[in-house]
């Protein structure tokens, strides 16, 4: 009756075993997915954050360094009931925020009761000191150190830029895949420009973890671990004391100072006024402070030396003179009557030669020079003739670095503007134009636009008698002690070196006995040129460019003070104080300093 039932049971056993073995073969040998899943389960790649490179001034003084900040993390499994009112008071958050934070935390994808989760970020050492006494009242909350930026002074904010957490959009567009959420990244200034050098290389420690996310040791005894490499330090050409002094002098004024070492192109000071304290853009209050600073109507985040495009005014006459000399349309002895019919002038001169015209900033003279330059009579047609002349003029003017970014190691550098035939074609809708339409460029008004850095570079070029190095903040990177290669190239102007002698003679006279007398120093020959840029109906902008000493110049400087009248007053005073400070270490003329700080540059009306 029960025949064959033994066999049925045996077959069932063997069949079940075969099913198991086939299934096992599929998940173990055929399907590769499980091996990968196992790795992502148990292997934790722990990032070791590198220390960001330091930024120093030309004498090795620290400008930007790193300080610890603290993240408050919470391990939910250890959290016990706590006094939420007290918690909110200690950590300075509202009850709603506390509730929201807990809610957010639990909604996160990687949420685990057993894994420390970020609760509050960027607590400063002061915050930490305040809360650490209370930490034991809130079990489950731990403090994790990290580093953030700190600044030795409030100076140089706009050039330094700031560092903050990488934004979501930037993270998505990061093709290199270097950044992760929560990483700090340079957001502007040299922090952004030298991000690659400053950030260093992250290290990784591969850890084995258990299901609760708790580390159980290193993977293969650390064979695949790498150490983090600190970012490279940057040595800038900035003289921190000079920079601070420049910011002090620019207090309450709007404008900029750019000082360059002519022999190297290193920037000694780069002042943008008004500025802000870079320490405000670090730590926990970054967002709220940033909102405040960026909505300030004085635009403290606007980096004027690079971004403010002004008409250059009379300082442009030197470029005009050099161009005309080079083209041979005038000689230093050429005299042009100051007839003041087309353009007004100032002073009581009547018939100057080139040096005199520069010294007295004679407008009709340079109008005449430009006419000779643009209308050489190559062709009878005055329209075409102007066109040819302007193209030649452009070539010379641009060789001084006008009309294009100089290539400073900072983001957002503006072009300025050198008018070209094509530009006028467009402006006149392809109707003909000639010299009489465009003559105001003769005296640095009209269509010309220049940023203060280009002015400083221009005067450095004069100081060098015909060449410049692209201005740059950083003179040495890391252990190489070299700047970026593009800053070692000499850029020559189209002007013969000999021609600069005339300009320099004239500039010395500007300071010795001309419009720039406030810049005169006792033992140092300062060569300068004032400019007063029309700004109706507001008071004119004051400009002064200078270099010193005359032989073997150490500093070339441009000062631009908005709405402060004649260039010989505010701008020349500030420039000379800066030169004094840099060359002597202090000023011998406290009355000039008082004059600058009083800020009363305008004639009473």
């Amino acid at each position: 009756m029960n025949e064959g039932r033994k066999e049925i049971l045996q077959i069932v056993i063997v069949l079940v075993a075969l099913v198991f073995l086939v299934k096992l073969f599929f998940i173990q040998v055929v399907d590769e997915r499980y091996a990968e899943l196992s790795d992502s389960n148990a292997i934790l790649r722990q990032t070791e954050y590198p220390v960001r490179g330091l930024i120093k001034d030309r004498h090795g003084k620290l400008i930007v360094y790193n300080i610890p900040e603290f993240n408050l993390e919470v391990l939910l499994k250890d959290v016990k009931r706590f006094d939420s009112a007290k918690f909110c008071a200690v950590f300075e958050i509202s009850r709603e925020e506390l509730r929201k934070k807990f809610k957010e935390m639990k909604a996160r994808k990687e949420y685990s009761r057993f894994k420390p989760t970020l609760f509050l970020s960027q607590l400063s050492t002061t915050d930490f000191a305040k809360i650490q006494d209370y930490l034991d009242e809130f079990p489950g909350f731990y403090v994790q150190p990290r580093t953030t930026r700190a600044y030795s002074s409030a100076a140089l904010a706009n050039a330094l830029g700031y560092v903050s957490e990488i934004s979501k959009t930037k993270l998505e567009n990061d093709a290199s895949k270097i950044y992760k959420q929560g990483d700090y990244i340079g957001q502007s200034g040299i922090e952004a420009f030298y991000e690659e050098q400053l950030r260093g290389t992250r290290g990784v420690r591969i850890k084995l973890r258990n299901v609760k996310g708790i580390i159980k040791g290193s993977f293969k005894y650390g064979a695949y671990d790498t150490l983090s490499i600190p970012g490279q330090d940057l040595i800038t050409g900035i003289d921190l004391e000079l920079q601070k002094y420049g910011e002090y002098l620019m207090g309450g004024k709007s404008g900029s100072i750019a000082a360059i070492e002519p022999s190297s192109g290193e920037i000694l000071a780069l002042v943008s006024g008004p500025s802000y304290d870079p320490n405000l853009l670090t730590g926990r209050r970054y967002s709220s402070n940033f909102r405040l600073i960026s909505s300030d109507t004085n635009k403290p985040l606007f980096n004027r030396p690079l971004m403010a495009q002004y008409r250059p005014g009379s300082i442009f006459k030197i470029a005009q003179a050099m161009t005309a000399l080079q083209e041979g349309v005038i000689t230093p002895e050429t005299r042009i009557r100051c007839d003041r019919s087309l353009i007004d002038c100032h002073g009581d001169h009547t018939n100057e030669d080139l040096r005199g015209a520069i010294t007295n900033s004679c407008n009709p003279y340079f109008l005449g020079v430009l006419r000779k330059m643009l209308n050489k009579g190559v062709i009878n047609d005055p329209f075409k003739d102007t066109r040819i002349g302007l193209a030649e003029w452009d070539k010379h003017i641009m060789s001084f670095g006008f009309g294009k970014p100089l290539g400073i190691d900072l983001p957002n550098e503006k072009n300025g503007l050198v008018p070209t035939p094509e530009m006028y074609d467009q402006a006149y809708h392809n109707r003909p134009w000639k010299f009489s339409n465009i003559y105001s460029i003769a005296i640095g008004e009209g269509e010309n636009l220049v940023v203060p850095l280009q002015m400083a570079n221009f005067v450095a070029t004069i100081a060098n008698r015909g060449y410049y190095y692209a201005p740059h903040i950083v003179k040495a990177i890391g252990k190489d002690q070299k700047p970026l290669p593009q800053y070692l190239i000499r850029h020559y102007t189209t002007i013969d070196s000999a021609n600069f002698r005339v300009a320099i003679d004239a500039m010395q006279r500007v300071v010795d006995a001309g419009t720039g007398m406030r810049a005169k120093l006792q033992d140092i020959i300062v060569c300068g040129k004032t400019g007063t840029v029309q700004n109706d109906p507001l008071p004119a902008h004051a400009v002064f460019i200078a270099f010193a000493p005359r032989e073997n110049p150490k500093i070339a400087i441009s000062v631009y003070v908005e709405d402060s009248g004649q260039g010989g007053r505010s701008a020349a005073s500030i420039a000379s104080l800066m030169i004094e400070k840099y060359l002597l270490g202090h000023t011998k003329r406290p009355y000039i300093e008082q004059y600058v700080m009083a800020g009363k540059f305008l004639d009473p009306k």
Binding site: R5, K6, V12, V16, L21, K23, L24, A42
Partner: protein, 424 residues
Amino acid sequence: MKREDNISGSLDWPTIGLYLALVLLGWINIYAVVYDEGVHQPIFSFTLNSGRQLVFIVASFFIIMGIVILDLRFYETFAYVLYGLILVLLFLVPIIGKEVGGNKAWIGIGSFGVQPSEFAKFVVALAVAKYISSVGFRMDNLRNQAILFGIIGLPMALILLQKDTGTALVFTSFIFVFFREGMSPFLMIVGICAAAIFILTLLIPNQLYLHGGIIILLVLLIGFGKKKFKRIAILTVGAIIIMGVIESVDYVVTDVLKPHQQNRVKALINPDADPLGFGWNVTQSKIAIGSGGFFGKGFLKGTQTKFDFVPEQSTDFIFCTIGEEHGWVGSLVVVVLFVALLLRIIFIAERQKNRFTRVYAYSIASIFFFHFAVNIGMTVGLFPVIGIPLPFFSYGGSSLWGFTILLFILLKLDAHRGQVLQRI
């Protein structure tokens, strides 16, 4: 002394060899589970499960000696007494027992705890064997069948009261014994069909397709078979019952099963639906086994089981460690060892002249088979998660001793098979 030699000589040594192999492999794998690279404790350390398991193993040897020394007639004579005793114990567990892991299945003796349900298995097997082998028992007698189901049903019910569904389900494996002893296969077929329909209903989201399929099948069967009224009536009624079952599945899943049991069924159907929630056990278990590859990661090199990704890894999910560290080859060895043991037990059963021993042998074969099939089935995702141990492998004194007693009572009975024949 001469008698002792006889007994040890007539014990079935191939089975003992398989037993020792399984226990030893189990012990080593328990060590692999708890091994911590940082701490590096030896396998014998009593702070580890492996050290304690060694104590259990040594204790099993004493139990084996006791079983072998004890008089042969004890087991058959006291089968019902033991049965009564275990019922009392099982009844007492919910009252005096202590709670471990959500189940109140333990009785504490000092600092030690034992699970009476583990010992209920051999006691019920003895009782079933005794009843089936009793004079005048007929498998086709409905009253006898009812008593038989009562014998397995009572302890099942008491264990269910302890909320230990897994162990309770083990007793359904006696169906195999009844089948072998002559019960109509109808019950088994109905059971398998019901299970198949249950699973199909869960797998196929729209039950209309299932109903349609059954109606088509019914029409085909009626159309191509003999057109007798009785046959058509039976088929129609059968189809309606099946359709009723389908409709009730939803009700069973949502209302009868407890939420964690529902989730286990859902996890089997679609483990990816909630891999971090109810699918966790199955997903992690499959990841652990699947990451082993052909040869495995190597002894003590597993990451998934060691770092607690797999739950209950020392006990119910011990097979994951084998799969992860020893790969398909290791799994093959374990599966083959179990199949060999099961076939050997059936071989022993069939060589008995005595019905009591044969029924007992089939009982333990069925129990071992159930544990083997369900346990490995759940770790590889072929079966819902039912917490029952893998015999001899899983960590735990009660289960090791329970299985050891089951097996060695058989070996004791088998050793005297000639003697028994003489006595009758």
